[in-house]
């Protein structure tokens, strides 16, 4: 997803770190990584440590971190739209205007990164500290408990206690119902393909007016309703 951008910008003190939230381990992520032939680091996160540390709830989400290790854009949707919700469930075809809107959103997101890499703190896409704090997703006690419960479930699955582990992961998903990364990982550990199966689509439909990928709030974007 990021290879062309990385190759373009890598001489400018810029790196992409892609983290695969992948409890089935490196082998689950390997085909995609080998296919994309990335030259930036692609890390395997079986325990969703990065999701826990940065309060991520879906993929792809991203955080912008400056040279000093400061967050200049906290966790947010990374260059995707939710046009897939308008997909024809039988043919998997997406309406043309949704395809175009998705591609345009992605271009704008990549351009925003280019602007940041070129201008640093002067970039209009860099948030000041107050705004960055305001946008940082807050941990609630339930979210913190969801992460602990996820860790327990993952440990049980890894140690041959699959059914108990999956039940525990289900509890984690219930504690943080907004975290698609928990529910879909649980479904994937249960049966490969389940994370994108009928139950997933029913959950997406149940969102109603709510977003699956909240639109990124950046100059040049239409303000999210």
């Amino acid at each position: 997803m990021w290879q062309a951008l990385y190759e373009e910008l890598k001489g400018k003190k810029f790196v992409v770190i892609a983290v695969a939230l992948e409890s089935r381990g490196a082998d689950a992520a390997r085909p995609s990584i080998e296919n994309a032939k990335p030259t930036y680091p692609c890390l395997i996160d079986v325990d969703h440590v990065v999701a826990r540390e940065y309060n991520m709830i879906n993929v792809p989400q991203a955080v912008w971190i400056d040279e000093k290790g400061h967050i200049v854009r906290p966790t947010e949707t990374a260059g995707v739209t939710e046009g897939f919700r308008k997909m024809n469930p039988k043919t998997y075809e997406m309406p043309k205007e949704e395809m175009e809107a998705g591609a345009a959103a992605r271009r704008r997101y990549l351009d925003a990164i280019r602007d940041w890499v070129a201008k640093g703190p002067e970039s209009k896409f860099v948030l000041d500290a107050a705004e960055a704090r305001k946008r940082t997703p807050r941990f609630t006690p339930e979210i913190a408990r969801a992460h602990a419960t996820f860790r327990l479930g993952r440990y049980l699955v890894e140690h041959g206690r699959r059914d108990e582990g999956l039940q525990t992961l289900e509890r984690a998903a219930a504690l943080n119902p907004d975290a698609w990364s928990i529910w879909r990982q649980m479904a994937d550990l249960d049966t490969v393909g389940k994370a994108g199966g009928p139950e997933f689509w029913a959950r997406v439909a149940a969102l109603g007016e709510k977003h699956y990928y909240p639109p990124v709030d950046m100059p040049g974007e239409t303000k999210a309703p």
Partner: protein, 136 residues
């Protein structure tokens, strides 16, 4: 044997829990939590959490410390299996919010496909786009 997973590391102890109470020696307790019991309360680095009057016996007695009670006192998630043989202790939500408010990117270490470890802080000096993805 009881397994305790705390900030990523796995500890094994011979002590058995009673409900969510698990009584450990001060040495084991400190190895797992990083906190030591002092006259000021539970202390880690320069920070001490005082023990409220009347709660002492739920937290320490007969030279043992109740890690489950400590978790409740300090709002740390403490999640166990039904049989109580495996537990996870996590940092509290407030501490995570506080840490993120500093806008310092939390550090982590993860392997790549070849098993080589990378730390986020290895990339200090560059701008980093930290992006999640998954096969599912």
């Amino acid at each position: 044997m009881t397994t305790i997973i705390s900030t990523g590391s796995v500890h094994k102890v011979t002590d058995r829990p009673d409900g969510s109470d698990l009584w450990l020696t001060p040495q084991k307790f400190e190895a797992i939590t990083g906190f030591a019991l002092k006259s000021e309360g539970f202390c880690r680095d320069a920070i001490c959490v005082p023990i409220p009057p009347g709660r002492e016996r739920d937290l320490h007695r007969r030279r043992k410390i109740n890690i489950g009670g400590f978790a409740a006192l300090t709002h740390r998630p403490w999640v166990g299996t039904e049989s109580g043989d495996t537990w996870v202790l996590e940092e509290p939500a407030d501490a995570r919010n506080e840490a993120l408010r500093s806008l310092e990117a939390p550090d982590f270490e993860l392997p790549d496909l070849d098993g080589r470890k990378h730390r986020l802080s290895d990339y200090r000096g560059s701008k980093v786009l930290l992006a999640s993805w998954a096969s599912w």
